[in-house]
Amino acid sequence: MANLGTFLLLASFVICAYATVASVVGARRGSRRLIESGIGGLYLVAALMAVATAVIINAFLTDDFSIRYVAQESETLQPFFYKITAYWGGLNGSIMFWVFLLSVFGSVAVFINRERHRELIPYVVATISTVEAFFLYLMVVHKNPFSTYLTPAPVDGTGLNPLLQNYWMAIHPPSLYTGFVGMTIPFAFGLAALITGHLDDSWLRAVRRWTMVAWLFLSFGLMLGMIWAYEVLAWGGYWGWDPVENAAVLPWFTATAFLHSVMVQERRSMLRVWNVTLVILTFFLTIFGTFLTRSGVVASVHAFGDDPQLARLFTAFMVVILTFSFGMVIYRLPLLKARAELDSWVSREAAFLANNWILLFCAFFVAFATMFPTMSEAVTGTRMTVGPPFFNKWMLPIGLVLLFLTGLGPMLAWRKSTVDNLLNTFAWPVGALVVTVGGLAALGLTQWASLTCFALCAFVFTTILQEFWRGAKVRRKNTGTDLVTALIGLVARNKRRYGGYIVHVGIVLIFLGFAGNAYKRDVTKVLNPGEQMTVGAYTARNDQVKVIEDGQKQSIVAYISVFKGGKQIDTMYPSKALFKKHQNEPPRTDAAIRRGVAEDLYLVLASFELGSQAITLNVVINPLVNWVWFGFGMLAFGTGIALLPESTFSFATAKIASPETVTTTIALLIVAMLLGAPRSASAQHMEMPGSITEPKSDLERKMRDEIACTCGGCAHEPLSKCICGQASQMRDDLRTDIDAGLSHDQIISSWIAKYNGEHFLAMPLDRGFNRLAWIFPYLLGGAGVVGLGFVAMRWSKHPGESQPSEVPSTDAGMNQRLDDELRNLD
């Protein structure tokens, strides 16, 4: 199998090279056949990479440890789910996964645009193939995931890094990579437009939605990484300005800037050089980010390790990208001249410009500070470093200005805002701002930064509400319906604009979470058994420390009773897990988190002594932190709405029947996925042979996994596995209880009474802990279903109503402004 994999990579590399040459030559000679064969080559690479992916996943699932990469990243006992995700757990596989995603994305993009942008396609194919070829080259010569052992293969693998065996970490890389890879498509189109000189705005339309999709995945990847850091790195925070985090956020800044400035070009034909520059920069930064994480240039907890040869190859590639693309920009400068000028600084385009400058400055600053240690060493010979406080000092005020602009921009008119106009729109938001400041000051909040942040959040939120309110009011008058229908119609008529506002609501929520960080409490103390410590409103007591084993790891679990206002509210279980295959490494510290809307209680077992049962407990209170995750959810929802428009209108005007079926299919798919998720998880539990009786019901099977044998001789194995007499007795007891019709919770509580404690449980009870986190994907899925359902309803009910009816209105000024914008935006 390894040979097949290596062959597939080699073949892909050769075909990529061919596709590049065929496309360029075909375009220059005007040979349709050559161009078509180049496109075919691109599709073929996607197919080959899909097969290669199947080969390596198969190798992981069948525990083929003759492949070096499999032996490094997997082991026999590794759970099924993590055997699959181990594919992108290491350096070599992550590069291969990258190429796989790029080939799929690239093929889809070319397939969709091959007729509409016929003149650009050859160069798009050439660009994508070149990028693929670079990464394939890395694998073929240097980082082959299919390389085998020269010596006899090991019997078992070393297993995936414990830190990566986490739900969030499993889905974080695919999302982030999709975001990174997706940025290649706009770059390919931009470069093709530069090369061919077709620099009218049509290439922008082709890439706008791709950028939005990629941006969505990038945002989501960032969020998943943050949640992962929050749960697994156990330091009480989610963002530490680590080089690798910075590398991922750099293209996010420039892509966000592009999504805003592209509107200025569409409306006013300005900023044309700027936009193409942003597209190039974003792509460059994705490669730069990959380079940072994989070459060992900067030291980081997340980096893959030192690799000078890889660093050299990447540097060469980056130099080529920059020289070639900016060379093309300079060559095409005459064609890129702006067709309009800025009329006034009090206009929406000026606000967009300011937003762009600030976002770009963010990117520049973060890149500078990340590279500062490396640069200072190269220049002065002395290594100087800057820490998170330095980042925070800069990014905090910048972030606040950005937040302010989020509210300001939508209130300004294009071209020029009049004074009347300003007074009219600013009254409510400024009122909300003043009230918030007054209210919070009265409550005794003095921290200026978070006070400003809260006030600005109120300001921005009010501006968005106002936009919805005014738009809906105008539409109600025009169409003569009720306000809710008008609101829905407003969003449906102009999904990109109002979707964008919903994204802004998400940003406001995220900032709310950031502001809460100022009131974080963090206390560490040594607790002997029975001792307690109080932080804020919470008191935590060390009840006991226990060792719990499963086949893969040994967990040291502290049982902490948590009190609030004198009453016990919870028992929490911060733990450390020692993985058997990673004996020489430090244990994985798993924080216990009690999530809440107002604040999280976050417990970390910093250290322990089994003999004396003493622990060092780190108690952190994180106010408002969950609003960050909710904010990202809102952001995803808004982007989803914004992404719908073009196809919606073509569907709605062309054929009515098909969109319904499409939507229903998608909705059904999502429902199926939602239902499928828990089912596949429970399918992991194994049947046990031998003397163990078959469980009669699902409940019994489930509870046998939850309850551990108490005999003391079998390393605390669950009842589904242990074959000793005690376990057999306990199984009989369980059967009796289930036959008596007791429910899961009733049995647990009666057994707690019977055994005088919870030590019969294989894992501590999971009250409160993680509940919010698990709800989150379902919440998103639910929002998606609702969104799709609402779109389906729109299409089916009002197929002919896509043109606005010309009804005279009394609110002439507002109406005209709205119509003007509605007409011009899409």
Partner: protein, 145 residues
């Protein structure tokens, strides 16, 4: 047109110099020297009282810990034991929770200040892992802000 370009150029220069100045001043506060033990010992007078990160290897058996508090005392030397020449030694006192990777012979980076007696007061200790995700694990002792 020329007039407009001058205006743009002046704005750009003013903005750039303002940012440059702010960056420079904040960098002076925010930047920390990153030095090895030998360098710190050699340049002791100039480094006293400055924000400093010192990198070295924990001398085996030197970690003293008061088990009821979070006070730690340990010694680090310039080179790992296996290198043969140990190099200079610095005494470090630290109050807090060191990461799981902190143990004898570990490569550590201590953040803090040099005392006038040559000892080092650390407010944070980060232990490095020999390698990252490839073969071994990362460092859970993430930088705390």
């Amino acid at each position: 047109m020329a007039h407009r370009n001058i205006k743009i150029a002046v704005t750009a220069v003013v903005l750039a110099s303002a940012f440059g100045f702010m960056m420079w001043t904040t960098l002076r506060e925010g930047a920390e020297y990153f030095k090895h033990v030998d360098e710190v010992v050699a340049q002791r007078p100039t480094l006293e009282g400055k924000k400093l990160q010192v990198q070295g290897y924990v001398i085996p058996g030197s970690i003293l810990h008061n088990s009821n508090t979070l006070e730690y005392r340990f010694k680090i030397q310039n080179n790992p034991i296996r290198a043969g020449e140990p190099g200079n030694v610095i005494n470090i006192s630290f109050t807090g929770q060191p990461p799981d990777t902190f143990k004898d012979e570990a490569e550590v980076v201590a953040h803090g200040q040099l005392r006038s007696d040559g000892g080092f007061d650390a407010n944070q200790v980060i232990a490095k892992c020999p390698s990252k995700y490839e073969a071994a694990g990362g460092t859970p002792g993430q930088a705390k802000s």
